[in-house]
Subunit: 420 residues, 2 copies
């Protein structure tokens, strides 16, 4: 017997064709009801995000290519009609996944009608057997291809991306900085947090706890000092805390209590991202809102995290989760239950540009977005935005598509990348 | 307010430094107990699988390289002492992930002591920031590198892989064939299933249900005809059914009832693999054992699926889950709760060879393993095994490492592959 449930023996040592007990008659089927929230989430999944009514004829994808210019990579999408879109990617992703992008994503999109973007994104996962490739490597590739296509579609419609994805709701975004430090003392960190507040102009900042997916005696000591010290020294500032999955349940709860005693606004990733049962227990034991979702690839698990009231701030990564359209569906689910969807930003290159376009058309992004906008020397400009924060805000480009231009030499020096 | 739980306002509009209610005092901490099974699973995770006592000195990894010969790819590992190990990979994986293997996996292993294999596999995920790369693309790469290292270590210890991973428990493996058909009629399929039974020599076979991650009116009709017809026509044969995640809850339950009325031995992947709540409900509504896990990357979710009695046959994919050591830990958890761990095999190339070595040292593999051993013309031989089934069984090589040799020309024509 290969099960611990009661099951009629499968070896069929009894006579073949014996009269089997019709179990279905003894157990009338009950229609499964996943509850109001999951039903609503499913409906949101089916509603398109991309506004295809802006396009009166198909936009056939002529080509999608990967280029390298200097140390930077970008995806270029071209339509049969001659429109072009460009999305710069982060080196450390593209250099690992360019064959995957070429073989499993570009091949799928080429020749298809870009106006059906929602449908294409649905099918590439489900029907093109890419569900087996679930995870960052696949979704980041899809995100960059989607962004290049959206830039191209924006050029055709003469509208910024937000107008293609439900309608623009704001022209600038309030930002804050997060510290990435873990190895300094609590006092050094508080001094650094003060500088970050000064630099952003926003009275909000995020610090790190734990040792990233684990703890050490040193990180424990630093946590205990930093949490009260940051509150004491930073006065009324809005403080966020990010543990990057460092804790087990007990320590997450005790740390969370310390955070709520010190009026921290949210507690991000208390335990490893795939410890779903644990994070639910942590949420139930604490009053402080939990934030998370940056490593989540599964739509169903995002739904679970929201259905069970585990997360109070849901943070899909715009790249790791597969782009703007997928992330906006999560934001709509969050809106349905009255919580914020504040995306996680992969630092480096133009991650911040994609974040501000997401923010341009999503109402419930929360009070502040994390800003990681160093551009990594990508030579990019916008006529309608400095692409830098000023007084705690950053303006969202309003030209077509992503609304940015690249230095001529950047494009001229670009070489197409091909895999084996 | 960004939460629907009661939370003291975070805006700190009240005076800074106010006396905060010490919530931790009003809620004495309860030590979280995940239960006996999870505690046992965690202990299994910490126990090494690789038998380092067979090695009396470190085995420093000199190099790991990716080669292509004809259409085939392989990973070659070399030790400082001159030992060599080879693992042939499946074209359609390696061609998408060779840069990821080179940048994120090979770089990590080079120069390290291969005898500490358990620890290296733990650290590459958790501390080398690869947890963000969770998913097939990362784990398949790690699996191939592990297999090349195990082959190399087997050459040094002069032992087959099973002896390195807990000890050999069998010399041959009972196999069966699975049909991959979905587009033929029920009657055509039953004829084909008969041929598969004849070909394997095992009175066991697996058929497919649904339309892979979805259903169609045609697939529904075929399911309803095939399930009773297969039982009627195939007499006492052991039948397995695989839905590849096709159903929602209600249909999974009604189909499952039909399967148990027709004495099918297990029902594989009734619903999409990340619909954890749904599969638990399906398991609770049915008597038939559920099988699954081929798409699962998360160790914690495997633990959940076993802790909650959802799966009665757990099926990590030896590649998608990251190799033999990780999969053997899942098998040990399964053994602890008295169920089988029958791995999923990615078809093509030498997947079957890795499966039989897994089977060589795992007691609870279940009565039959799926055989997908066409070798794809990889020119490989073993002195101790035909590498083909005979009378329903396939012999496991007993020479050192993987126990196989490649044609001289295959190795001679190989060219090293490098990414950008």
């Amino acid at each position: 017997m290969r099960t611990r449930r009661h099951f009629i023996k499968t070896s069929l040592s009894a006579s073949a064709g014996a009269c089997f007990l019709p179990l279905s008659l003894s157990r009338p089927a009950e229609k499964y009801d996943p509850g109001e929230k999951i039903r609503a989430f499913r409906k949101i999944l089916e509603e398109p995000v991309f506004n295809s009514s802006l396009f009166h004829s198909p936009v056939i994808i002529q080509s999608i290519k990967i280029f390298k210019s200097g140390k930077h990579y970008f995806i270029e999408a071209r339509s049969k009609g001659g429109a072009r879109g460009i999305a710069v990617g982060r080196d450390k992703y593209i250099e690992n996944i360019y064959p995957l992008i070429q073989n499993r994503i570009i091949r799928f999109f080429t020749g298809k009608n870009a106006v059906k973007l929602d449908e294409l994104i649905h099918y590439i996962y489900l029907k093109a057997l890419n569900y087996k490739w679930q995870g960052l490597a696949f979704w980041v590739g899809l995100a960059y291809v989607e962004l290049a296509l959206l830039d191209m579609l924006g050029q055709i419609a003469r509208k910024p991306i937000g107008e293609l994805l439900g309608g623009r709701v704001r022209d600038d975004v309030a930002i804050y900085y997060a510290s990435g430090n873990r190895d300094n003392t609590a006092m050094e960190e508080v001094d650094y947090l003060k500088k970050l507040i000064e630099r952003s102009g926003a009275n909000a900042v995020k610090y790190r706890l734990g040792a990233r997916m684990h703890t050490t005696p040193e990180s424990d000591k630093r946590d205990r000092q930093l949490i009260p010290l940051a509150r004491k020294e930073l006065g009324e500032a809005i403080l966020y805390a990010d543990a990057n999955g460092s804790y087990m349940v007990d320590q997450a709860i005790s740390t969370g209590k310390m955070l709520q005693e010190n009026q921290v606004a949210f507690f991000e990733e208390p335990c490893p991202f795939d410890h779903y049962e644990e994070i639910k227990i942590i949420a139930e034991a604490l009053e402080i809102p939990l934030a998370g979702g940056e490593e989540e690839s599964s739509t169903r698990q995002f739904m679970w995290l929201m259905d069970k009231n585990v997360l109070s701030v849901v943070q899909p990564d715009l790249l790791f989760y597969g782009g703007l359209i997928r992330s906006i569906k999560i934001a709509r689910m969050a809106q349905h239950i009255g919580i914020d969807c504040t995306p996680h930003i992969s630092g480096g290159a133009l991650g911040f540009l994609y974040m501000i376009h997401f923010a341009s058309c999503v109402p419930n992004i929360g009070p502040f977005q994390e800003f990681k906008g160093n551009k990594d020397q990508v030579p990019v400009e916008s006529n309608s935005s400095s692409l830098q924060p000023s007084n705690g805000k950053i303006a969202i480009p309003c030209e077509p598509g992503l609304g940015v231009q690249f230095e001529e030499s950047f494009m001229k020096n670009a070489k197409e990348i091909k895999c084996l």
